[in-house]
Amino acid sequence: MTTLLLIEQVLNGLQAGIMLFLMAAGLTLIFGVMGLINLAHGSLYMIGAFAAAGVAGATGSFVLALMASLGAAAAAGAIVEVTVIRRLYDRDHLDQVLATFALILIFSEGTRWLFGSFPLYLDVPAAFAGPVTLPGGIQYPAYRLLIIVVGLAVAAGLFLLIARTKIGIQIRAGESDREMIGALGVDISRLYTIVFALGAALAGLAGALVGAIQSVQVGMGEPVLILAFVVIVIGGIGSIKGALVGALLVGLTDTLGGVLLPLAFGLFLDPSTATSIGSALASMAIYILMAVVLIYRPTGLYGATT
């Protein structure tokens, strides 16, 4: 019984971690290539979820909804990059934080104005609505399994894109020396727009996929954004591999902490105290994890040690 519960929680942690990776990959790419700290990444996640919910409500097709989330988030990302973000690359981090904080206000209130304050619901596609039986007799929701598979596929695609394609070469070159690749004739501002739109599309996809499990509402992006920050700080800013490892660590710690810590305290405390201390500590577990990683490696697990 407990083993089954544990395996189920591990799968949940994996699913949360994979979704975090989609967010964190965009953030870390944008920081690595352009040196920009983007607080508005959570807004792009929200835009993806709202676009998916809107299209699914109108057409009833989940595939169209996912494509809409990718398209809407990428378009919003490209527009924001060209109008605002582009002016921030030469500024210090404080200006970047403030300008993207302002963008959050504009996006959140704009969405509230368009869609209202009530949450929208995005239905899980009918084919994946039920549970599947995994080897060992574990019942697990098919949709969550689908999310894990889609997320892993996107992660693999991203690694291939970065490692094998021409645009990937340009991105990696941009990370190490942006003036040099400009001098070599790469259109750097077009590259920046592409990277930003790519990161935005990943965030939008994550928003749509998670939106079918949770509700789609204004402000859904910020908690995920902060978790994604924790992920890239743990993994090392600029490293996609670090983002993957960090995302899985954070996803598993968060999910398992919520289950295991109250149980652990239950061994030597009375149940109600154990639950309250356990869940309070579990809510802090990932931040404690981050602090520990930073004490030993101030630039994250895979960050460049300077």
């Binding site: 920081f31 700290i37 605002v84 002016r87 981090h93 404080l94 200006d95 934080v97 403030l98 300008a99 904080f101 302002a102 963008l103 959050i104 206000l105 504009i106 959140s108 209130e109 704009g110 509230r112 104005w113 910020e222 902060i226 920050f229 924790v230 890239i232 700080v233 800013i237 309250s276 869940s279 309070a280 579990a282 809510s283 802090m284 931040y287 404690i288 981050m290 602090a291 930073l294 004490i295 101030p298 630039t299 994250g300």
Partner: protein
């Protein structure tokens, strides 16, 4: 410099002038609004020491604001229910006395700033921003999931705490108290900025390598600044909770930290009166725009975006005509 001094005096006198005018016109709500502005200004003045002088972009100052708030909430709720705070070998009672609450708020947030500072100041740049943000979230989620003091619902206090010789429930008297504290802290900050410590801190922002070469430790300078900064913001938190007679996890939220940075930058970063001007402007915008539209934060966002992109130096910087305060 002359011009900035005139603007500073105007900013400084605007709040009491507004409060006195509201008293004469018998509009207690406006006095409360001015008190709110003064308290938020105090929090931002605290942040300005770390952010403006020290160059530390802390996205976690809501931690200290919230700790100050909960210092007030916890002490006052124990005093209100006559249940001692600690009941063991020693008995610690709650308190309804403002000076006691302030002391606890300042010491508590200074201690938190020391621990957070020691851990966070090992890093710099983006890492520092994100770590302070993460510490903020840590306190936020802890306050939500810890049921003893209201959890997510927060904690209400029936009667505002007492200050010897004053009736703190009278809006103008409470405003006066807050304004005197704000003035004392501003005076202290102006002394710090001109002291050898302030100069060294400013130098550590501009060129840490040089500061290190002359034998000073940028880490220690920044840590001291961070602790003082956190303590001042904690004091503001205790006052803010007393103003609303309510504390909740929202005081720990990262939007709060973001707003503090907005106050500092909107008014003029690194300038003594910048945070005061920024907080007043924000409260003014909040008050007028929320009457215009339900979605008033869009306008705040747009204004903020324009200030960051085009009006560097903030309100005071634009009026006084110099981009950076003391460089």
């Amino acid at each position: 410099m002359r011009r900035e001094a005139i603007i500073n005096t105007a900013v400084y006198l605007a709040l009491p002038a507004l409060a006195v005018a509201a008293l004469i016109l018998d509009e207690p709500f406006t006095i409360t609004l001015a008190t709110r502005a003064a308290i938020l200004a105090l929090a931002a003045v605290g942040l300005n020491l770390a952010l403006g002088l020290g160059g530390l972009v802390s996205l976690g100052h809501a931690v200290f604001f919230g700790l100050g708030g909960y210092a007030m909430g916890i002490l006052a709720s124990h005093a209100q229910s006559y249940a001692p705070l600690v009941d063991g070998w020693i008995v610690i009672e709650g308190s309804k006395s403002m000076p006691v609450i302030w002391l606890v708020a300042v010491l508590g947030s200074a201690l938190a700033a020391l621990v957070i500072g020691v851990l966070s100041l090992r890093t710099s740049g983006v890492y520092f921003i994100m770590i302070t943000l993460a510490f903020g979230q840590m306190f936020y989620y802890f306050s939500i999931s810890w049921p003893a003091y209201g959890g997510e619902d927060g904690l209400s206090i029936y009667v505002r705490n007492a200050f010897p010789g004053l009736n703190t429930l009278d809006p103008i008297q409470f405003f006066g108290l807050v304004f005197v504290l704000l003035s004392l802290v501003l005076w202290g900050m102006s002394r710090i900025a001109r002291s050898p410590f302030g100069m060294a801190l400013s130098a550590a922002r501009q060129n840490p390598a040089r500061v290190e070469t002359v034998g000073l430790s940028p880490f220690r300078l920044r840590l001291v600044a961070f602790v003082i900064s956190g303590a001042v913001t904690g004091l503001a938190g205790a006052l803010f909770a007393d103003l609303n007679r309510f504390v909740s996890p929202t005081m720990f939220s990262w939007q709060m930290s973001g707003e503090f940075i907005v106050f500092v930058v909107l008014g003029g970063i690194g300038r003594l009166f910048g945070p005061v001007a920024g907080a007043c402007l924000f409260v003014l915008l909040e008050h007028t725009l929320s009457g215009v539209s339900e979605f008033w934060l869009i306008y705040v966002g747009a204004i903020l975006l324009l200030v960051v992109l085009f009006a560097r130096g903030g309100l005071i910087g634009s009026l006084a005509g110099r981009e950076v305060a003391d460089d």
